[in-house]
């Protein structure tokens, strides 16, 4: 299968690979997917006191499209509020990376990862 140039670029030069301290109160972690399905994404956001995502990191087990999707969303969420980040749709990701139909689930997973990270952050702050 031929990959789009954008997928190749993210695969070869992934943005924001790494981990944030899961236990910190300003960090939200989303872990989605399953090893048995061939893809697992861990997406983490670091949120400022003003509610702005100031940093994002990812680690992904998966194919090139899965890696590119998660790399791309770490770029997109930075500087956004949680509500803005929650608006990112898998279709935007799929379109940006020109994913073929068989790889749409990679973009769905990336959307799920953002939502899971936001939910985790909000859970930590439910009693603020």
């Amino acid at each position: 299968m031929a990959y789009s140039e954008k997928v190749l670029d993210h695969y070869e030069h992934p943005r924001n690979v790494g981990s944030l301290a899961t236990d910190e109160t300003d960090v939200g972690t989303g872990l989605v997917g399953a090893p048995a399905c061939g893809d697992v994404m861990k997406l983490q956001i670091k949120v400022s006191a003003e509610g702005i995502i100031e940093d994002a990191k990812f680690k992904t087990f998966g194919c090139g499209s899965a890696i590119a999707s998660s790399s791309l969303v770490t770029e997109w969420v930075k500087g956004k509020t949680l509500d803005e980040a929650a608006q990112i749709k898998n279709t935007d990701i799929a379109q940006e990376l020109a994913l073929p139909p068989v790889k749409i689930h990679c973009s769905v997973l990336a959307e799920d990862a953002i939502k899971a990270a936001i939910a985790d952050y909000r859970k930590k702050h439910a009693h603020d």
Partner: protein, 417 residues
């Protein structure tokens, strides 16, 4: 006639091309084979079935020599060799042909879950036509349990089909033992030897094989040609799939493609002479690859038995790294993966699953296939390339991170999607 000249060192090594390590998918045509084929396209183009002039006689003579060369590598008589378009057709003809010929007497077929799709799919179709099929499981090393095979064969069993060498994991089934069981129980024994011919010694008589499928392009011959060995004593009867002028003893009508037949014959003749030496070379390369990878990469596992295996195949799971992602990382190599993402179905390799390999490990496998034109330098390049890519992707893998932190991946409640 001028002989063509091809620099053998360029085969699979054209400048800018990835190093070819997918010899179970197909092999390059040996230049010596191509040399023998060329005149039969142009100067000597006659129809081998033309009985009334020299063009036909010459072509017939060439086809019959090829038939003898194919027969010789498996210890058969040339009259027992039927040329086909390839192993898929041979497998179809053997299974359907034998099942349909005997359908009034017997209705049961025994095969194995790790067979090639063209055997399994043919069996599925025969099931729809009223046959019952037993799909034997394999052990964790990829080999069948002989006691299970014997127990599966009934007086209704018309044919048992077990491949010689598996295309994904390279394991060699115990053909002689299987043949003895089939003979004792009165069932025909068919074996798909597309990956076995020219790689391991085969003898249809010593192994009690009744039908054997052979492929041209897996043994440095051309694509589009194969053969089916059909035993004459005791005679194996088949219903033909392709009917017409009655060529190939009526088993397979159609004009024989003389150049392709000549190519298959020459490929067999070369393999017969060079097999032992070639196997030693491949064993050396295989050991070098495995040792080289293991020296730098923990948590890698060979799928399938290491002893009962052709030396030109290594199927390795690289834990915590997804196979398709890994293939993108080793773009300097032409390899294949058992990962779901490389298949249309998004299911990981059914062969690895049949071995009991965990789904998550099946997703992490690469198949390295090497052969006649693979060099030590190719292997060294592959070692460096794979180590670099796996290390890079593990740095990026949340599962590797968990593994290093001592988290048992299996203890996590994953939401399968």
């Amino acid at each position: 006639m001028s002989a063509i000249s091809i620099d053998k060192s360029l085969i699979g090594h054209a400048p800018g091309d990835p190093v070819y390590l997918d010899y179970q998918a197909t092999t390059p045509c040996d230049p010596r084979v191509l040399d023998k084929m060329l005149p039969w396209f142009t100067l000597r183009f006659g129809n081998p079935h033309s009985r009334n002039h020299a063009y036909g006689w010459a072509a017939e003579e060439a086809v019959e020599l090829a038939r003898e060369q194919v027969a010789a590598i498996i210890g058969a008589d040339s009259k027992e060799i039927i040329f086909t378009s390839g192993a898929t057709e041979s497998n179809n003809l053997a299974l359907r042909g034998a099942a349909l010929f005997n359908k009034d007497r017997k209705n049961h077929i025994v095969t194995v879950v790790t067979e090639h799709k063209c055997v399994l799919d043919t069996c599925r179709h025969l099931e729809q036509e009223g046959f019952s099929v037993t799909y034997l499981p394999v052990q964790t090393n990829g080999l069948i349990d002989l006691a299970q095979l014997e127990a599966a064969i009934t007086d209704q069993t018309v044919i048992v089909s077990v491949m010689g060498v598996n295309n994904e994991i390279g394991v060699i089934q115990p053909l002689a033992e299987i043949g003895a069981i089939c003979r004792k129980k009165g069932a025909l024994f068919h074996t798909d030897c597309a990956q076995a011919v020219g790689k391991i010694p085969l003898d249809v008589n010593a192994m009690n094989i009744d039908l054997m499928s052979i492929s041209g392009h897996k043994i440095y011959g051309p694509k589009g040609i194969g053969a089916l060995y059909v035993r004459r004593r005791p005679r194996v009867r088949l219903v033909p799939m392709i009917t017409g002028g009655g060529q190939e003893r009526g088993f397979r009508s159609g004009t024989l493609p003389t150049p392709l037949c000549v190519g298959l014959g020459e490929a067999c003749a070369i393999a017969k002479v060079e097999m032992v030496e070639e196997a030693a070379h491949l064993k050396f390369l295989s050991q070098r690859l495995l040792d080289g990878l293991k020296a730098k990469l923990p948590e890698i596992y060979v799928n399938g038995d290491l002893e009962h295996r052709i030396p030109g195949n290594l199927n390795i799971s690289f834990a915590f790294v997804e196979g398709e992602g890994l293939m993108m990382g080793v773009k300097g190599l032409a390899v294949s993966s058992g990962s779901a993402c490389t298949s249309a179905s998004l299911e990981p390799s059914y062969v690895l699953r049949a071995l009991g390999v965990d789904v998550e490990m099946a997703h992490t496998s690469l198949r390295f296939g090497f052969g006649r034109f693979t060099t030590e330098a190719d292997i060294d390049y592959a070692i460096d390339h794979v180590i670099e890519a796996v290390s890079h992707l593990r740095e990026m893998s949340p599962l590797w991170e968990m593994h290093l932190a001592g988290v048992d991946i299996k203890s996590i409640q994953w939401a399968e999607h």
